[in-house]
């Protein structure tokens, strides 16, 4: 019962944040509501027993990635979004299509009778067990993701620097 109340509380915050992201017209408000969604999702992970995933969710997602978003919004001085002809077409076609798809998924999920209940803290994902899995069974994917993130960092530096800055190299007067 207590588990259900906690699930509904944080789930309500999640859904409210997601809807607020759609409703707000200024991107900084959308970013802040996305942070609320991510923080309450971390609480849902804790309810499922995935404590390490919850910590990483707060540190990496709500911390690092969203800071990147907020800094970009402030750097580009993004204002209110303007309504154009394309947005009306997208609303007319997008909203009914997505709602039909969502109702179909919800109907299928709720009418499956073989879904069992998950007790609180069902599977303890402590760092020791996760590290053992990550560095034995998933060692190759782990190394591949480290290469991926290295390439992504280099690509971000090349793309975000002003045109010609990378090819020109460091300025003479700095060294």
């Amino acid at each position: 019962m207590f588990h259900l109340i906690l699930f509904l509380f944080f789930g309500a915050i999640c859904v409210a944040g997601a809807v607020n992201l759609l409703v707000q017209s200024h991107p900084i408000n959308s970013a802040l509501s996305l942070i609320a969604v991510m923080a309450s999702l971390a609480a849902e992970y804790l309810l499922l027993g995935a404590e390490f995933v919850a910590a990483v969710q707060v540190i990496v997602y709500a911390g690092a990635i969203m800071v990147l978003f907020v800094i970009t919004i402030m750097l580009l001085n993004a204002g209110k979004e303007e309504r154009t002809k394309g947005s009306r077409v997208a609303i007319l076609i997008g909203v009914p299509g997505v709602l039909i798809g969502g109702v179909l998924v919800a109907w299928t999920l709720l009418h499956r009778s073989d879904m069992q209940s998950v007790p609180i803290g069902a599977l303890r994902g402590d760092p020791r067990a996760i590290a053992r899995l990550l560095f034995h069974q998933f060692l190759l994917p782990f190394e591949v993701t480290s290469v991926l993130i290295l390439i992504a960092i280099m690509g971000a530096v090349v793309l975000a620097s002003p045109p010609g800055a990378v090819a020109r190299g460091p300025r003479k007067d700095e060294g």
């Binding site: 699930f7 859904v15 849902e44 499922l48 969710q57 979004e81 997008g94 209940s117 998950v118």
Partner: protein, 100 residues
């Protein structure tokens, strides 16, 4: 005790909100945040299924999704900065050429 379908329903709602934001939003940064919302919805179903099947590998895959999301955010935001530098707009309707 919470049924597994409730967790999957919450993850489905988050995913649908992400798809809706991707379709109806015109600001390129908000579209990007909708993609992050979709990835979060998928992560929740990964963790819920891991608890359901008692398989810890579901939680390990959440980390891989997070790494991909971080790489995507870094490269995507750099592309947004490059687009803004040449076009001076964040509206996707006004960005209709790949050429810088």
């Amino acid at each position: 005790m919470v049924p597994l379908s409730y967790y999957l329903l919450l993850s489905g709602i988050l995913f649908v909100c992400g798809v809706l934001g991707f379709l109806i939003k015109r600001n390129i940064i908000t579209i990007f945040m909708s993609i992050e919302l979709m990835l979060n919805g998928v992560n929740l179903s990964f963790v819920a299924f891991a608890a359901h099947w008692h398989a810890l590998s579901g939680q390990v895959f959440v980390f891989f999704v997070m790494v991909v999301a971080a790489a995507e955010a870094a490269v995507g935001l750099a592309i947004i900065i490059a687009v803004y530098r040449t076009r001076e707009t964040l509206n996707v309707d006004r960005v209709n050429l790949l050429k810088l």
